[in-house]
Symmetry: D2
Subunit: 144 residues, 4 copies
Amino acid sequence: MSNPDFSMDIQISFGHCDPAGIVFYPNYFRWFDRCFHTYLLKTAGGHRRLCRTLDAKGIGLMDVRANFTSPAMDGDLMTLDMTIRDWGRKSLTLGYLGRIGDRAVVEGTEVRGMFVMRDGRLRAGEMAPLRALLDAGIPEEDPA
Amino acid sequence: MSNPDFSMDIQISFGHCDPAGIVFYPNYFRWFDRCFHTYLLKTAGGHRRLCRTLDAKGIGLMDVRANFTSPAMDGDLMTLDMTIRDWGRKSLTLGYLGRIGDRAVVEGTEVRGMFVMRDGRLRAGEMAPLRALLDAGIPEEDPA
Amino acid sequence: MSNPDFSMDIQISFGHCDPAGIVFYPNYFRWFDRCFHTYLLKTAGGHRRLCRTLDAKGIGLMDVRANFTSPAMDGDLMTLDMTIRDWGRKSLTLGYLGRIGDRAVVEGTEVRGMFVMRDGRLRAGEMAPLRALLDAGIPEEDPA
Amino acid sequence: MSNPDFSMDIQISFGHCDPAGIVFYPNYFRWFDRCFHTYLLKTAGGHRRLCRTLDAKGIGLMDVRANFTSPAMDGDLMTLDMTIRDWGRKSLTLGYLGRIGDRAVVEGTEVRGMFVMRDGRLRAGEMAPLRALLDAGIPEEDPA
């Protein structure tokens, strides 16, 4: 993951950790999700704007996995890298790597779809229009 | 709080606790909120149904406080009692008491308003219609 | 997953859901973890007692995955089934299935290890002693 | 709160918000707690180091309150200011103000104690030694 598409720092705090003194694992997924949404914000004005433009309900999860290679504790600063791994016709695969200095603590993958309402049901829509908006970036005239 | 309007049990789990081994305090507010919403569900079909009926955006927080009198840990079963303390014209005051057996662990108060959109802004609406729906309960013909 | 080793009900509440109105996905992992810890509590007196007996730091995650097949919303009651899939020498694989009535909403797998301190480092310990304690259940003389 | 003792920015994300599209209120308390712990980290090497030095179990909550003056949404950047309001003999009072630009969204107060084990029970200890360590800052020779 030598050239991530987006990175953010997570300052690990007391409240993220469990009685064993290490990060309670569901928090890693909150950070994966936050990393993706911050990427959307910085790249294309955010999830709400994209959904409005694309008439979508959300860009949500279909599948996720993570592997925990080393513990993280209160006071650690974790750098979380996100890489766009694959654009499928109806899915987007994202890779994540969290590390503290050189030490990897979590490695994971999210598969997301863009959910649209069709015939009264939520369905996975085509990803091409989302990809085009992310490639285009934030238009000058749109402040938010 | 001898006669609560609603009660629920919370089985305190490992992931609710922090490195000191006791409940991470923001969780108590998640449980206050869950208690209120479960009360709405059991009494009047839930928050979504009420908001649709009342043309409201939500029944949300204006003010909250809590006092932590004793720690709770993984494995404890907490009973959380909710009492309707006061109906104001534009607010509802709820009291909470969490206890493990006879031992009080948290005592708190939420002040909630019903937020409605007026002239393009969220405003606190009149509470009387909400109170009437809660008093009336779930109509027979509405299954959800 | 016709014969789960443990099951619990999760009343899905407003605060578990995101602006799309469906469960924010990291919550499913909080529920997987809570299900496992409640199983430990009911079967063998809980995580703290087991770790004390086994001189372990925790029974934590090595790997996890989940597949989201259908959305869940405020007001839904989800039944979460847990099945012990496999005891490895240094790992335990657990399967989860969450459903609302007959509709599956999440299917997942956790791989857990028992972490012990050896030579100043956390390492995955042998699982056989944990398995023996879970098979034995809570001894009569130990109230907690 | 013109001269806070500590400030941090919170990038509000999709997963912090509820079906009404605004921050789910318990998150504000997670941020209050994180702000205090980050202050401890930057000022005196962090909660774990302080507790070890002071033979304390934790610097935890006795009382908390908050007032929500305006909603915050996905994409908002909230600046959270923390001010040390009062050092009592056995308590510390902290004030918080969260704002988005010039607009206040939350104002709150935490009262914390330093919990020490005395005669087999958790009790509130004297705050003077904690205050002295915070005033002294991180010693040169201690890297963590």
